[in-house]
Amino acid sequence: MSVQPTAQAELTAPLYNFAYLDEQTKRMIRRTILKAIAIPGYQVPFGSREMPVPYGWGTGGIQVTASIIGRSDVFKCIDQGADDTTNAVSIRRFFAKIAEVAVTESTAEATIIQTRHRIPEKDLQEGQVMVFQVPQPEPLRGLEPRETETRAMHAYEEYGLQYVSLYESVSAYRRIAATASYPVIVDERYLMSPSPIPKFDNPKLHMSPALMLFGAGREKRIYAVPPYTRVRSLDFEDYPFETQRWDDVCALCGAEESYLDEVVLDDQGNRMFVCSDSNHCGERRAEGHVGPMADHALAGATS
């Protein structure tokens, strides 16, 4: 017996709803988002759907984007700060195909920016929405594996355990060792994981004019930082929070203040550093900024 013609027709020429999710699901997710915005930093459980990409590959971010995107939106998608990494390309193609929205690599032009592991260097504006892909929404999970217990800790604002881990870190390394997924307190109430962005990006969350939405598909949680909300990175008075700095500048555009990726040039220990934010780097070079290796092959490829 062969596949029924109806099923086959559906499979070869799928008639998906705008932005893939059906409207009921979108409504459910929008309600979740509204609740998340109303309680900044609180993880709201939601009926996460199975998506056509695997869990851990951005299903949470995709569901959030799919629920808020409209035909007039301009969509940007980055992974590791770059628009042209494979998974960013894949997700951008997904929305270009199923929502037929305009896509861009320009941070300024985008209305919705979905991201994994970075916040763009350029200051965000009012009206823009950042959508973060979140692998593990629970900042306390590494310290306490039980969901029932961590939910109680949030409910009762019992965050001593998080400080215990910072204390251990200072005892062992004479500094707070966390370099990414660095925990924050939102609006002086909820402890929140900023997703695995480097702590370099944490200050960008504080009082940002843009709305920050965090989607964790596999763990089925959504949380938010509304515009102009206080976001404080945890620290000790005598070991204050600090961000990463590099001795090098971007080899292509000469930027001194941006987050740099290390590019290994050979197996002799030679390397160069370039902006992780590909759009930022390209725009700077277009403005005439020049780095020490501006004519490297990478420059042509990422402009």
Binding site: S2, V3, Y20, D22, P45, Y55, A88, T179, Q244, D261
Partner: protein, 368 residues
């Protein structure tokens, strides 16, 4: 092709997909396998994909197996991603497995039970010798199995009803005023989990994971001393009662495997000693899974009121959060995605630590 392609990302993905399609087809000298062949001849694979994919459709499951090149968790994922786009129009009435058209039914608890032991199609008691006759081209058709002289009874009583008059087995009567069943595909996991939520999670759970958990419990890591009360395989009909009609209409026939595991319950102030049960149900013919599910269900039930939950199988959060192979496979494999921003942060930190370590060491050596 570059991994994190620089501007080549789009092209790289397209080319990778083309290569994948080529590999799936394999040598063009060999005829293409048909979905109908998979459906008919790899039927246990189809059954597993339907069960863990939570979608009873043999054709789609067979297609998913073909598309995934026989990678069953991938096929399960494909079916799930399709299923999630389907509208839900309601809940069926509970299926009546006591009215099952039985093809196989065995109980390890009694030598004989009303209706008889029915061995049916099973690998049990086969000798696991490779049958090279199957490798021969155009193998001849197997001889048809002999028909029994008399048909089976229409209704074969379940192990529960066998025990009923003695009250030896715990009752599990559904609450008539119960709200709609939990729907794990629409709601997130909650703890403590309700029984319907737990059974759904186990029914969708990875066969290998549940098998290992059940095995661990048998070996003493949370022992429940299970006894296989009954396994039955056969067809049941699914009925749905539309609110506007008020009477049930038959939607389809399903093949299911059902397993009831028994284990002793020593009794308490409120209850006399009796047998408690664990329950397993799968789409299609999946005995290993149904038995594992029943053992794990029983272990979790026993752990509900226990003070010491020391073994993995007794820990509801551990079992339910880690049984789904679509979630597990995605998250494990997401480690293939680039992580170089985080790695750069970590690298910088470790380099700094190494520098400080070397400085401290040379200062110490200088002092000595």
């Amino acid at each position: 092709m570059a991994y994190v392609a620089v501007k080549g990302g789009e092209q790289a993905i397209t080319n990778a997909h083309a290569l994948l399609a080529e590999d799936r087809r394999g040598s063009r000298d060999v005829p293409e396998v048909g979905v109908d062949q998979i459906r008919a001849q790899l039927s246990l694979a189809v059954d597993r994909v339907m069960g863990e994919g939570s979608c009873y459709d043999r054709d789609l499951a067979a297609l998913a197996i073909k598309q995934s090149r026989g990678d069953l968790p991938e096929a399960i994922f494909l079916l799930r991603a399709y299923r999630t786009t389907l509208p839900r129009f309601g809940f069926s009435d509970p299926i009546a497995t006591e009215q099952m058209a039985v093809r196989r039914r065995v109980s390890a608890a009694f030598k004989d039970i009303p209706g008889g032991q029915v061995l049916g199609p099973t690998f049990d008691y086969t000798h696991r010798l490779l049958d090279f006759a199957l490798a021969a081209e155009g193998g001849h058709l197997p001889d048809p199995a002999a028909m029994a002289d008399a048909p089976l009874a229409d209704d074969l009583p379940t192990i529960a009803s066998v025990f009923l008059h003695e009250d030896l087995l715990e009752h599990e009567t559904p609450a008539l005023d119960a709200a709609e069943p939990y729907d794990l595909t629409r709601e997130p996991m909650q703890f403590p989990a309700t029984r319907d939520q737990r059974l759904q999670a186990l029914a969708r759970g990875d066969e290998g994971f549940l098998l290992s958990l059940a095995y661990s419990s048998q070996r003493g890591w949370g022992s429940t001393h299970p006894l296989c009360g009954e396994i039955r395989l056969g067809d049941v009909s699914v009925e749905f009662t539309p609110p506007e009609l008020g009477f049930p209409i038959e939607l389809a026939d399903l093949t299911v495997t059902e397993c009831t595991m028994l284990s002793e319950f020593e009794g308490s102030m409120e209850h006399p000693p009796q047998y408690a049960r664990g329950y397993g149900l799968t789409f299609g013919h999946c005995e290993r899974k149904a038995m594992s599910m029943a053992i794990v269900d029983r272990a979790l039930k026993a752990a509900e009121n226990a003070v010491d939950q020391v073994h993995p199988v007794q820990d509801e959060e551990f079992v339910l959060y880690h049984s789904d192979n679509v979630e597990a496979s995605g998250f494990v494999q997401h480690l293939k995605l680039p992580h170089y921003v985080d790695f750069q942060a970590s690298l910088q930190f470790v380099r700094k630590l190494r520098r400080e370590w070397a400085e401290a060491r040379s200062a110490k050596e200088a002092a000595e």
